[in-house]
């Protein structure tokens, strides 16, 4: 469905490599926003009722569905805590990052 995305930051070394106008040539996947996080969500899958609400309300598209369960993508999760706040079964805990 979707074309393969480059995960790398595009570096333009010389003006000859630049497009004529400022335009996107790749995605933002290079930008690992997981580094923004102070606290991280941890899902206790035993208590998970698979309602999908954490997936639904993630502003950072950082909860993905794997084998019918939500999985946090820590590369990008900014640690906002919406998933934990909205989880009806209270199975997501926000825990301190190991520093």
């Amino acid at each position: 469905m979707k074309k393969k995305k480059t995960l790398d930051r595009i570096v333009l070394a010389s003006e000859s490599e630049f497009p004529m106008m400022p335009m996107s040539l790749g995605t933002m996947h290079y930008n690992r926003t997981g580094a923004w996080r102070n606290i991280k969500p941890v899902i206790e899958l035993d208590k998970c009722i698979q309602c999908g609400i954490c997936w639904k309300f993630c502003p950072d598209v950082s909860i993905v569905i794997r084998d019918e369960y939500p999985v946090v993508d820590y590369d990008y999760c900014k640690g906002c805590g919406i998933c934990a706040e909205e989880c009806p079964s209270k199975c997501i805990a926000m825990v301190e990052e190991e520093k």
Partner: protein, 298 residues
């Protein structure tokens, strides 16, 4: 683990917004985009005026969306979208949905002339305003969407905003456009349904999406959904739709409205308000709710 069960997803699973974007933690505008794109699909072209999203999407030469974007001047979203639609049609693309995607400043204030012009001409565009009730991209200055009582950097606590929020929905209704609706990121299914409905209609369609801003509202990032839900449940931001400026339908019927103070106490921007001032907000919401429900025949 109960492996036999499947996830119950209330929204389309397709994502057209990728991670790595530059929205703040708990950003309502990011969610608004994610939901809208689930309804709009890949055949979409956006016009972004200056707003949070002109940064959120990412810097040159990168973008976090899988659809086309034309960044345009602050006050021009509706005009640029009018031209983009006309241009696409002239080169044979009658399929792409053209969407002006603007914040409240770009809609209520600087962009209202172009918006009014496009709506009067009934341009074949969807105009979506994600409303976070101030100029958040420039650092929380008041806009005409800022509500009474709110602190911003240009309405300091000792001189908080004394005028009510501009009623953009009534202004748009006066243009008698084919379709307009309000939506909230907390009622994602309703939001997606409305964007899909708008996509199926020709002419100017206006969607007003409530999108809390933790940085500007001085609220906790995790409260973003809760706040937008409370805004609906208190009647501060009612969820309705209209056709041709008439036939107003209340989509989220709130039987027992919650007191506005439940909503206000979660936000630092209202912390300075006295009980009398909070009551004044309550009275205003009550009056507006009465008007709206009467208009909706509810």
């Amino acid at each position: 683990m109960k492996k036999d069960k499947t996830m119950k997803l209330s929204l389309p699973i397709e994502e057209y917004m990728g991670p790595g974007h530059l929205a703040c933690q708990g950003c309502g505008a990011a969610l608004a985009m994610r939901f809208a794109l689930k309804a709009l699909g890949p055949k979409t072209a956006f016009c972004f005026p200056a707003c949070c999203w002109s940064v959120i999407d990412g810097p040159f030469p990168h973008s976090s969306l899988d659809v086309s974007i034309f960044h345009c001047a602050f006050e021009t979203a509706a005009a640029t979208a009018s031209g983009l639609k006309a241009g696409l049609e002239m080169v044979g693309d009658k399929e792409t949905t053209v969407v002006a995607w603007a914040g409240d400043g770009g809609t209520f204030d600087i962009g209202i002339q172009a918006l009014s012009g496009a709506a009067e001409r009934n341009e074949d565009i969807i105009y979506i305003c994600y409303d976070n009730e101030a100029y958040m991209n420039t650092g929380i200055q008041r806009s005409s969407a800022t509500p009474y009582g709110a602190w911003t950097t240009t309405t300091p606590v000792k001189h908080f905003k004394s005028r009510p929020k501009k009623d953009i929905d009534a202004i748009m209704a006066a243009h008698r456009i084919p379709y307009q609706a309000t939506a909230s990121i907390s009622y994602a299914e309703d939001l997606v349904k409305k964007v899909k409905k708008a996509k199926g209609i020709r002419g100017t369609r206006f969607l007003h999406i409530y999108a809390p801003c933790p940085a500007g509202w001085k609220s906790r990032p995790e409260d973003t959904i809760k706040l937008s839900r409370l805004a609906v449940q208190t009647g501060i931001f009612p969820i309705f739709e209209m056709e041709n400026g008439e036939n107003c339908v209340l989509n989220i019927k709130v039987k027992e409205r919650k007191p506005v103070k439940d909503y206000i106490r979660l936000q630092g921007r209202f912390r300075h308000l006295t009980e009398d001032e909070v009551q004044r907000i309550q009275d205003d919401v009550d009056a507006r709710w009465a008007r709206l429900t009467k208009m909706c025949g509810a």
